[in-house]
């Protein structure tokens, strides 16, 4: 039931390997659906083309959200959880049968949801806010998918228990798996919240429950909706640490700090969902401020800690290899030809500078007035979950293909360029969407010329320029994603087999030589970069507060 990997020396449970492969394949299928939908949406919202008719716009928007934000990422994460709890720990899969059950439920959910959307009986967008109603099959599909994923998470915990009991690793979990534990705890809470909201909603769509309170629905729904993005953040950061280790042999300069930051996520991050209700009629200001800031900042702090810990891991390893000249010699001499490295690095930059900075403004009680439900919101999560998580996961697959699928990476030259094309495309898209939102352009809106309405409104003419950027960024990102899908599908199904270490196109870095005695800073280059980030962050905050102060008064 085991094979020993001739490249890493790790023991691989073949039954777990099969499940990792299947979940990864479904992840790619979901992403493909999401990406095709994305292209149609970009070409519709850009009014110069305005491709889709109105009902198909909302239908495809629903399709895009569920496939790109839910199915792709959760399938990939389940694959990652199995990988982190068996292969990494030299251990076995607790129950492959339940692994199959989880997979079948998730695929069934995937099919039902996509079927109902495409047949037009679930034009409710990803949030499906009650009293907007979809066909019961749609809610059933979501529930099946969530239950399947929940079983996958439980299997992860069971695998950990077995590995612990059979002592297949040392005393402490590796950091990557530790990060996945944090993600899995958040996932358990999130998916349970999903069940709490979708089960009554299903009963309501069947007519068994008479009505659903819109405020209660939205409150509980976001316990699922935003927390599920926190699973992604946590898993993404685990992948960052993994990437630093595989590509340059980098390890946290202080593991305790990195681990505490993961614990902070578990404590603080779920309540951060409250920032979706900042301009809602229900909750009081005290509730809003406490939940979104006092508690959320534990998570923000954790992100800032990781923002230092991951690049400094790279810097410290590189410096020990002798790249010690100046502040950024280590970065210049990093393995930029390794797509996993460039993917992780771009992911850190995009997540921090675009996703993180905008996220704090969106999550502050008063400045939320500026951005709520404008294009700034999807602009923000293009920076976090697409430029951050999706890009990091794409980078990780460049190791997953040779190690788990035992195939060489096809079109290796294309693979080197892929993170750049996708990353730059998403960065341009995210920034232009954020700016369009700042001009008041709404999200989830078919026609911003308001044709057919009783009045008309013309946005500031500057938006035309940002719409062009939006289209360029969106199309570039779609090309980058399609490049990745092409590489992955071709490698996995038609690629040349990997017979041993000589077929590895990516290096697995050996640990750097031990550190010499030195005084002063461990990672001055990283400190400079993080201080630069802090500067950008504060300037952006000041601009937003200044702008808020210039608006109509409201209380």
């Amino acid at each position: 039931m085991f094979r020993t990997c001739d490249i890493t020396g790790l023991k691989v449970d073949l039954r777990a390997e099969r499940l990792i492969q299947l979940n990864a394949v479904m992840a790619v299928v979901s992403l493909l659906v999401g990406v095709i939908a994305a292209l149609l949406l970009v070409l519709t919202r850009w009014q110069v083309v305005h491709l889709l008719p109105v009902e198909w716009y909302y239908r495809i928007l629903t399709l895009h959200g569920l496939n790109a934000l839910i199915f792709w990422i959760i399938f990939f994460e389940v694959a990652g959880l199995y990988f982190g709890s068996t292969v990494v720990l030299n251990s076995r899969m607790s129950s492959p049968k339940f692994g199959w059950l989880a997979f079948i439920l998730m695929v069934l959910g995937f099919l039902l949801v996509n079927y109902t959307i495409l047949t037009g009986s679930a034009d409710v967008l990803m949030t499906s806010y009650a009293p907007l109603q979809a066909s019961p099959i749609y809610y059933l599909g979501i529930i099946l998918f969530a239950v399947g994923a929940l079983i996958g998470v439980f299997l992860f915990f069971a695998n950990l228990l077995i590995a612990r009991k059979e002592r297949t690793y040392g005393d402490s979990l590796p950091l990557f798996t530790f990060g996945l534990v944090a993600a899995a705890i958040i996932a358990t809470l999130t998916l349970a919240t999903g069940a709490i909201i979708y089960i009554p909603t299903l009963l309501w769509s069947l007519g068994i429950i008479k009505s659903i309170d819109a405020g209660v629905y939205k409150l509980v729904w976001w316990g699922l909706g935003h927390s599920s993005q926190q699973i992604n953040v946590t898993a993404m950061i685990a992948v960052w640490y993994l990437g630093a280790f595989l590509t340059v042999g980098g390890a946290s300069i202080n593991e305790k700090v990195s681990r505490f930051a993961f614990v902070f996520y578990v404590i603080g991050i779920n309540v951060a969902s409250a920032h979706h209700l900042l301009v809602d009629p229900g909750p009081s200001p005290a509730w809003k401020v406490f939940n979104t800031s006092y508690i959320m900042y534990i998570a923000v702090l954790a992100s800032m800690i990781h923002a230092f810990a991951v690049p400094s891991a790279v810097e410290s390893a590189q410096r020990r290899r002798g790249f010690t000249k100046g502040l950024f010699d280590w970065l210049k001499n990093a393995p930029w030809g390794n797509p996993a490295f460039s993917a992780v690095f771009l992911s850190i930059i995009i997540f921090g500078f675009i996703g993180g900075v905008t996220g704090v403004v969106n999550g502050m009680e008063q400045t939320n007035i500026i951005v709520h439900n404008t294009l700034s919101i999807p602009g923000h999560f293009k920076g976090t979950v697409v430029g951050g998580t999706t890009l990091a996961f794409m980078g990780a697959t460049y190791y997953l293909i040779p190690l788990i699928f035992r195939k060489k990476i096809a079109f290796f030259g294309l693979a080197k360029a892929q993170p750049w094309v996708f990353g730059l495309g998403i960065a341009v898209l995210a920034v232009s969407m954020y700016i369009l939102g700042a001009f008041g352009v709404p999200r989830r809106h078919y026609d911003i010329t308001f044709s057919g309405g009783p009045f008309t409104y013309t946005f500031n003419p500057a938006v035309d320029f940002f719409w062009v950027l939006f289209a360029i960024g969106g199309i570039t990102a779609v090309i980058g994603a399609l490049m990745w899908i092409l590489i992955v599908v071709f490698s996995v199904f038609l690629g040349q087999p990997v017979r041993g270490p000589q077929d590895m196109q990516l290096q697995i870095a050996s640990p750097p030589p031990p550190a010499k005695e030195h005084h002063g800073f461990e990672a001055p280059g990283t400190l400079t970069l993080t201080l630069l980030f802090m500067g950008v962050f504060l300037v952006f905050l000041l601009l937003n507060w200044g702008w808020l102060a210039a608006m109509w008064e409201v209380k």
């Binding site: 402490s172 008041g440 608006m551």
Partner: protein, 176 residues
């Protein structure tokens, strides 16, 4: 070493000077941001209100109709135009796919807006000032606005509310 168990004694290793500096700075910034939101409630002039009443679509519709009939001055594209006196209660109805009524307000005066929906969730988005609030059925959201600029303003709906969502646009006129 992300893939290997950490080395012996990892828990007792001292935190590096630069990492410590960074964490301290980040913590201070987080604390300032937290208190800033509370300070803005005291000194700032833009805060999402905390007055909300429970209502029903029928009740709210009745209140809004009474309000419209009382202060009605005309009609614009089939939508009543209303000019309420300063410091009064103003009712704004959101329903698929229109905002009612058109409001005529005076600059620098306060108006107590009651905003609610008769059907689905809608989004109140005032342009070009770009202020955005959620509108719910069953909840009467009370926001006291004081327009600080004159001209014609659009209220666009920015929460998906069905196929005609993009035609849902209303108007506020602010006079000197």
């Amino acid at each position: 070493m992300a893939l290997l168990p950490p080395e012996e004694g990892w828990y007792y290793k001292r935190v590096a000077k630069d990492e410590k500096m960074w964490i301290a700075l980040a913590l201070v910034v987080c604390l300032i941001l937290f208190f800033w939101m509370i300070v803005w409630h005291i000194y700032g002039r833009q805060n999402p209100s905390f007055t909300t009443y429970r209502t029903t679509p029928q009740e709210f519709n009745a209140l809004a109709n009474a309000f419209i009939n009382k202060y009605r001055t005309g009609e614009m594209n089939g939508i009543p135009v209303v000019e309420p006196p300063p410091n009064s209660d103003v009712f704004l109805v959101a329903k698929m796919w229109r905002w009612e009524p058109v409001l005529v307000l005076k600059k620098g005066q306060e108006y107590r807006f009651h905003i609610s929906s008769l059907d689905l969730l809608h989004g109140f988005s005032l342009q070009p000032v770009n202020m955005n609030f959620m509108v719910y059925p069953g909840y009467d959201y009370v926001l006291t606005f004081k327009p600080t600029s004159t001209g014609e303003f659009a209220i666009i709906c920015n929460e998906f509310c069905g196929i005609g969502h993009h035609t849902m646009i209303g108007k506020i006129i602010v006079k000197e």
